[in-house]
């Protein structure tokens, strides 16, 4: 008896109401209209995507909003092949950092639109530097997943 150790199982579940603030609210209003917006930092001159209220590096407020392209190139990518709690889709799927044309920072998103049977079929479609284009969902809620994925276009 003495040296046993039982396991107690349980869940912690909590609800959240995250306030977007004006910049993210506006960014997602534009998103519904299939526009990807960036904001320019007057100090370092970078176009930041997603558009935001202050520059991450410079601690100054951004003021100018500019639309960036829905096309860009793959900075880096990974094929996800394991499962975890709260995962947004069934593996396998591809995560990537994308450099959209006109933006100075990378955007994390999915690359998809083709069958991912095995690594070989994936490597035929996806490579660093490869070009991609946003594929929008029909019903858009004003959220990052309004873009279903970015599709390879070269």
């Amino acid at each position: 008896m003495a040296e046993e150790s039982r396991i107690l199982t349980g869940y912690v579940s909590l609800p959240y109401k995250w306030a977007m603030g004006p910049a993210t609210t506006r960014f997602y209003e534009e998103f519904r209209k299939k526009r990807i917006m960036g904001s320019r930092c007057g100090k370092c001159n970078r176009i930041l995507v997603p558009a935001r209220s202050f520059c991450s590096d410079c601690f100054v407020e951004t003021d100018e909003w500019v639309e960036v392209s829905q096309e860009g190139s793959i900075r880096t990518w990974v094929l996800i092949n394991f499962a975890y709690e709260g995962q947004p889709k069934e593996p396998p799927y591809i995560l990537a950092i994308l450099d959209l044309d006109g933006a100075d920072v990378g955007l994390p998103h999915f690359v998809g639109g083709f069958e991912m049977k095995d690594l070989e079929t994936v490597e035929e479609k996806v490579r660093i530097g490869g070009r991609v284009k946003a594929v929008w969902k029909e019903n858009r809620e004003g959220y990052i997943l309004d873009i279903d994925y970015f599709e390879p276009i070269d």
């Binding site: 306030a19 202050f54 991450s56 601690f59």
Partner: protein
Amino acid sequence: MAQAVAIVGTGQTECGKRSDVSYPELVHEAVTRAFEDAGIGPEDIDAVVAGSMPPAMEGVNNPHLYLAGAMGAYGKPLMRTATCGSTGISLAHTGFYHVASGMFDTVLVVGAEKMNEGDPQGTMATVADPFFQRPFLAGAPGIFSLQSNEWAHRYGIEEKRVRMAAAEISVRNHNDALRNPYAHIRIRTTIEDVLTARIIAYPVRLLDVCPASDGACAVIMASQEKAGKLGRNQAWIKGVGYCGEQAFFGEGDKVVWKSAINAAKSAYDQAGISNPLKQLDVAEVYNPFTFQEMLFYECFGFCDFGKGCELVEQGVVMPGGELPCDPSGGVLCTNPIGATGLQRVAEVVLQVTGRAGDRQVPGAKTGLAHAMGGLDQFNGIMIISNEL
């Protein structure tokens, strides 16, 4: 004592339900104001110390990352300190150790919370172990009511008297909060209002309890040399104390409360304070519940044990009294928990540098800032003076 550490700037946001901004934007607001107050910018900061409640409060599990840009922390050492309710004072201690070590000249310290983004009492119920205590922790009101009832019973203080003193504290705090531009609850209350408000957790009624607030507070600390170069308002950290107790709520004595007594004693010893009532000019006592504040008076040596009510009845801790407490309106009117302890520090800094506006305690030179956390297991103190 370690080498001298000054507080050279403070910045606070307006508090309340701040769904007008995101959590990072809220923090950005406080930090911007701290820079303005100190007359410096992020380029002058050598390290950043940040903290909040357990991240389940906002559902973003790496808050010091989420808020990094909002604190101007890019390219700098960044530390996260988080001790639950006492986070704000632990942040101030961490910043103090950073500068006192001689490793950094200027340190930005930031506490923040957006309690309206989550379920505060649900989060607080999960602070306890899952085996024995979790079902019995009805958030903060449950814990503090247990303590208050035991305290009143121990000293045989009749219920009517305790409730009246608590009501006077509530009215005092609500009045003070009207003079603090950063305070959350801004209503004028009467003794009658407090005594007849809805029961939350007996004896605690609605106006005996703090709100769930969104807010942020930033404080800039500097070495003596750096503070001298800045040549602006300076307050000096004279003593710090913190003490912890057992994980089991039922184990310690929460009336003659060791962690509160010891935290104050350490800080007093360092600051050379033997008679706090005489030597302190202002005290920002962490008071999420009116009743609990009187218990702190006793543990901090403002009066003998069992005599907390008298300080209220005699006006000692009221505006114009010998030791006005919580001129900011206190935690009772504003409680963004991760910021709350640091707001106590910021208020004492404003008071001892004569910049507290309509709520200024005339001639305040030395003050006490306090915060408390855990399930009533942690207390932390900082003594701040306008003289080195």
